[in-house]
Amino acid sequence: MIEFKNVSFWYGEEDGFGIRNEEVLREVSLEIPPGKFMVLLGRNGSGKSTLAKHANGLLLPQSGEVIVDGMNTRDEESIWEIRRRVGLVFQNPDNQIIATTVEEDVAFGPENLGLPREEIIARVEEALDLVGMAEYRNKEPHLLSGGQKQRVAIAGVLAMHPEYLILDEATSMLDPEGREELMKVILNLRGKIAILHITHNVEEATEADEVLVMDEGRIVAQGKPREIFSQVEEIENWGLELPQVTETALLVKKQFPYLFETLPLSPRELVEELCS
């Protein structure tokens, strides 16, 4: 479990009156339990990336605590174990790969853990399998597509045998195929590891176990996708949009109020209700 306990974070100094000019996180409390697939939504500047960087101690709270499986991110002795447990993958596929072959890149983390050779080989194999990149193991990373590079970056994290995977807008720079490949990988990892996926694409949130919404440094909503996307007016206030299927159903409902007692999230749900 990753626990955020009243976490606040701000850049710069507090002034004499205790006013924090650039406060990015405001008393955030949150639990990320093992195995859950969570999606974090929120407008630009709402604090999503700052929150992500707190989860593995890349940033430390100005006040409050972040506890990862009982270890405090402030505790320097635990920080490497925390970073092994909480893997982060970022936005730009070209900034995260360092080695000259796919295999070497994925092996980089486990090598630094000082694991025996056989164990490293087994972990690389397993991680590449999980992201569907085993056949590319000897390829040079710069020859891969954006989606493939991001899958290699995820494999690099998985080879550390983490408990938590945090994806900070990892799909945002990809083309539609790359995005779909990555979403398949995420759904394939579901249940095996906790995932916190940060995105602006509401369609990617429809399959989550739980959706979190941030605004102005606070978590303003948390619930199942259907609960979140049925708060139609709030969605706009949070700077979000409805999934297109949900929006369509609402428009249909205006003329046929008896339809869609629960709002659909996927094309199939919409069509099923219309055809029943």
């Binding site: 083309d175 195929e177 700077g239 299927v245 249909v252 199939r268």
Partner: protein, 290 residues
């Protein structure tokens, strides 16, 4: 014809073992006032293509005509071409360097020799054209704005050259839905009111469905499809081969067609889809029940 490409080919690192053929025999005509989306997989040649529109790249073979002027001619007025066809790169805010929003947007027109009242008018118009309030934003540092505001200032800094065509590479990448919506609406308005030629490269079919009338699909350096956007989204199988997924609305339309409803697969927005459902699915049902 405003921009015309005739059998344009382009190769990076031409003549070396690392040569990459990025454009192959492209023929394309763009009329003034059109609104065009360009899509295709990463690496299909989209960015190379748009850099030919304003002579940042000169074709290896073939030719590009901007309002009749051949960009590969020795004496081609390149500065004038680049003023008339404004190009907004991906993440353009990474290139900010001025101290204030005003200076940032004034940079290009100032280089064109525009000063004083005229300069101020241009900056004001450009900022307002992207939906920003001149008085409140002009003195702020461009670096302290929100992501969506930065992107709009970057677009304004190209609009301030009063281009006749605006070419944007992934203008909404990384923006939240709100910021994205504002930019798309403002671009659409500019295209309509100023008869601005609008060319957008994007991975988001939902975004393009909101602004583009015509869609160009590229693959491996070639133009594979070039047609009305609705007709393109109707060819589900073909565009999937090219790495494109139709917008969610079109996907729903296809599922309904499979169930025997004659819904138009070219629906671009939830509103259009809802109308089709109303007409073709629910009205029909009423009749059946009655």
């Amino acid at each position: 014809m405003f921009i015309k490409l005739e059998q344009v080919s382009f190769t990076y690192l031409s003549g070396t073992p690392l040569a990459v053929k990025a454009l192959k025999d492209i023929n394309l005509e763009i009329e003034r006032g059109e609104s065009i989306g360009i899509v295709g997989r990463t690496g299909c040649g989209k960015s190379t293509l748009i850099q030919h529109f304003n002579a940042l790249l000169i074709p290896e073979s073939g030719r590009v005509l901007v309002d009749g002027v051949d960009t590969s001619e020795k004496k081609a007025p390149l500065r004038e071409i680049r003023r008339r066809v404004g190009l907004v790169f991906q993440y353009p805010e990474d290139q900010f360097f001025e101290e204030s929003v005003f200076q940032e947007v004034a940079f290009a027109p100032r280089n064109l020799g525009i000063e004083g009242k005229e300069l101020e008018d241009r900056v004001k118009w450009s900022l307002e054209a992207v939906g920003l309030d001149f008085a409140t934003i002009k003195d702020r540092s461009p670096f302290e704005l929100s992501g969506g505001q930065m992107r709009r200032v970057a677009i304004a800094s190209i609009l301030s050259m009063e281009p006749e065509a605006l070419v944007l590479d992934e203008p909404t990448a990384g923006l939240d839905p709100e910021g994205k919506g504002i930019i798309l609406n403002q671009l659409k308005e500019l295209q309509k009111e100023k008869n601005l030629t609008l060319i957008l490269v994007s991975h988001s079919m939902e975004d393009l469905a909101r602004v583009a009338q015509r869609l160009i699909v590229m693959d491996e350096g070639r133009i594979e499809l070039d047609d009305d956007i609705r007709r393109i989204f109707s060819q589900v199988e073909r565009i999937k081969e090219l790495g494109i997924f139709p917008p969610v609305t079109a996907q729903v339309a296809w599922l309904l067609r499979e169930r025997g409803f004659d819904v138009d697969p070219g629906v671009l927005t939830p509103r259009e889809l809802a109308e089709e459902i109303h007409l073709k699915v629910l009205e029909g049902k009423k009749v059946n029940v009655g």
